[in-house]
Structures are given as structure tokens and as C-alpha cells.
Symmetry: C2
Subunit: 235 residues, 2 copies
């Protein structure tokens, strides 16, 4: 992006829970990959209760009069403005499709430690989590991983030759999964050469590499989507 | 829609599992609400394995050279073509946002009977399902329902005065929830006058009323997203 475009993109505010990467990180990566200034604001419950329509949950993006929630909607809004998607309706639809399949995987990775729902702590559902994590590792993770492996065998990026925002989201998701399930993912990774090469390719993008090395990057932890509980990984 | 527009919209093929409404029903409702002809095709695993990019799961929409999966992406593609959303980028984004919040609720309603994941039968996870359904009824369902109640208190439709496709999806979802949890939802419904009025308003749309009375409408059953297992409802 040119500096002029960067200056025009200012005024973005991302409201998200502090202290964890979570779904906010998918939006942060779009800003960071393009060197776009944005304000990272601690989400406060009740903050947007008077807005019509009220957002259901963070992340919430505020940009002038625009207020949007739902990660995939925020990214679809930002992508043409940040140059993170080809400006073509069908390629935008395909990008949304990839983003939503990634979002489905994210829910299942989260539910591996919260099978009884988000209202109770992991410690209150450890036995059920062990069963769900087993099913995730044995069935669902390989299915999703092979799906993306198959697509990436056709080109360096999810859209083929064109880099787009779901490439960032896929990177973040498998970074999270390999953090959460190092043994299980380590056993699967040799089957996934294109996905592994894609992860390395995203991590080596100069602005992403700089971001990952900075203190702006929030580490995965036991409050986020992707949690390393050894009891839930393969031994 | 005029007959001419209807004729132009022909050539839509929806591939979905037969024998259950599922996520395919969200797409069917868009066609039925607008009197748009479409072909309802039984999804066969492996059918699109050679397509680039391969769809992860049905529903799959085929329209000429276009092939899309992910319900919300299919609806965003169809909506301007069928007149089911205002042709304005921000109202389209807001519609997608509502659709994705509805999709989040659908996942949680499904997971009430499948907390250990989709690879095992309900009968193999009944004890866990009872716990997850309890949490859904006590915490998550009221949170989602009050969210939509709040929005609908501002206008007859989710976008205010303009009818759009998430109105159909919200109708379908609460039809499913009141089927699955008649007691729990019955206890909550008096708190939700705007949501209940919205359900009645959608059901009374002439084309929707005709569809619901037809044999094209698939009933909820124990293979779909919304299952009436008395053990999971409130007593």
C-alpha cells in the first residue's frame, strides 16, 4: 500500500477482549500485514448496547460511522480497503467461503476444551473435553487440514496466485492448533507439505515477520481459543 | 419479483443432504420466499472433489460457472439477485453480520445434542448432551434470543423497515429451537414479544405460508440440526 492509502485508512478502532489473541487477532493480522494504523481498544461489555443493531460479541470494528461485528464480516469490509483481496465479486465470495470454513475449524478447536459451552470453565468440563479433543484430533482436525492441504497444492495461496486475508487467518489458526496440540499436529504435519509451506510463507512476509517478533503480538494462552492443555493432546 | 426476473434466476442448483432440512433449508427459504425456481439435488460425497477450490461441506450452490459453499456466502450471493437485501454495501454487511450470528446460534443448538462432535451418534453422547443442553437452555439461548428481541423492538425486520434474507434465517432457527425445546422455549417466549411477532410475520408472507403448507417443506427430524429429544428439554 502507498503511504497515502495508509493515511486514508487511519481511524480504524478494533474493540476486543484484552489479554488474549482470540478472534481479535484475525483482524489485527489484516492491519499488521498491510502496515495500517489502527487503535486497539479494550472491549467493555455494554459498550455498544445503545447501537442499532447491537453487536452480539467482539471483535467490533468502528470506522467512522461504520460499526461491524463478526470477524468474517469485518475482514470482508476491510479487505478491499487494505488491498487484502482481489476486487472481484466472485473472488471476494470465495475468500469469504474460505474464511467461514476456517471459522468453523476455529469453533471446533475451541470446543475441544469447552464441549459443554463457554459459560463454564475448562476445569469444570475436563472429562468431556478429553473426549471431544480425542474426536477433534482423530476426525475433525485431519478432515479440515486435508481440505486446506488439497487447496494449497494448487497454488501458493488459497486463491491460487493471489494473496488474500484468509491466508492470514489460516496461518493464525494452524499456529494456534500446533500450539494447542503439538503432539497430535506434529504427527499429522508430514501429510501436509503444502499447508506447512503456506504457514512458513505467511510467517516470512516482511510485515508479518516484524509483527510476530514485536511485543504487539499476543502469545497464545489459557484464556484464548487455542489452549495447550497437555491432557487434551496426544501423548 | 416479476416473472421476467424469475425466469432469469433459473439455473440454480442446490446440492444438499436429502431427508433433513438442515442448512440447506436456509437456502431453500430464499428461493421459496421469492418464487425462484431451483433444482434441489441430493448431495453426494465426492461430487465436487475435483473442483478448485473444493467445497468443505454442503450446502453447495451451483449457478452457471459459479460454485459456492458456506450457507452465509451462498445467501450473500443470492440476496441481491433475488431482491432479498437492499443493494447497499453497508446493509449487505449488516445482513451478513446477522446471518453469522444466527449461524453461531445454529451451531450451539446443534451442539446441544452433539457436544462431543459430529462424528458420533447422539446415543453415544447422551449424558454429555444433557449437560450441554442444560447450559444452552440456561445461558446461551436466552442470550441469543434477547439479542434478536432487542433488535426487533426497533422495527418489524432485522434491518428495520427493510425485509432481508436473515429474517428468513431467524424464522427458521427459532422454528427449529421451539421444535427441539418446546418447554424451555415456551417458558422463554413471553419475554420475546418482538421475536414472536417476527416469527408470525415471516410465516404469514404469502409465498412462505404456501411453502410451509406444501410437501416441499421438510419437517424437522432426528437427523437434522434441531432435534426434539425430550431428555434434553426442560421438563
Amino acid at each position: 500500500m502507498s503511504t497515502t492509502e495508509n493515511r486514508k485508512s487511519a481511524g480504524y478502532r478494533l474493540h476486543y477482549w484484552q489479554g488474549l489473541p482470540g478472534r481479535g487477532e484475525y483482524v489485527r493480522l489484516a492491519f499488521e500485514a498491510t502496515g495500517t494504523p489502527f487503535e486497539d481498544v479494550a472491549f467493555e461489555p455494554g459498550r455498544f448496547d445503545d447501537h442499532v443493531p447491537r453487536p452480539f460479541a467482539p471483535p467490533v470494528l468502528v470506522h467512522g460511522d461504520v460499526l461491524l461485528s463478526q470477524t468474517a464480516v469485518i475482514l470482508d469490509y476491510l479487505a478491499p480497503r487494505l488491498g487484502l483481496v482481489v476486487d472481484d465479486p466472485m473472488l471476494r465470495a470465495t475468500s469469504s467461503m474460505h474464511q467461514l470454513t476456517i471459522a468453523d475449524l476455529v469453533v471446533e478447536a475451541h470446543d475441544a476444551h469447552h464441549p459443554l459451552g463457554p459459560q463454564a470453565y475448562y476445569e469444570e468440563q475436563k472429562a468431556e473435553a478429553k473426549k471431544r479433543a480425542r474426536a477433534f484430533i482423530d476426525h475433525r482436525l485431519p478432515k479440515f487440514a486435508r481440505h486446506f492441504e488439497n487447496i494449497l497444492q494448487k497454488g501458493p495461496w488459497l486463491l491460487g496466485d493471489a494473496f488474500s486475508y484468509p491466508d492470514l487467518s489460516l496461518f493464525q489458526t494452524f499456529a494456534g492448533i500446533s500450539h494447542a496440540f503439538p503432539n497430535a499436529y506434529g504427527r499429522l504435519a508430514p501429510e501436509l507439505p503444502a499447508l506447512e509451506a503456506h504457514r512458513a510463507r505467511v510467517a516470512a512476509l516482511p510485515k508479518i515477520a516484524a509483527y510476530l517478533a514485536s511485543d504487539r503480538r499476543r502469545p497464545f494462552n489459557d484464556s484464548g481459543l487455542f489452549r495447550h492443555y497437555p491432557a487434551l493432546d496426544e501423548s
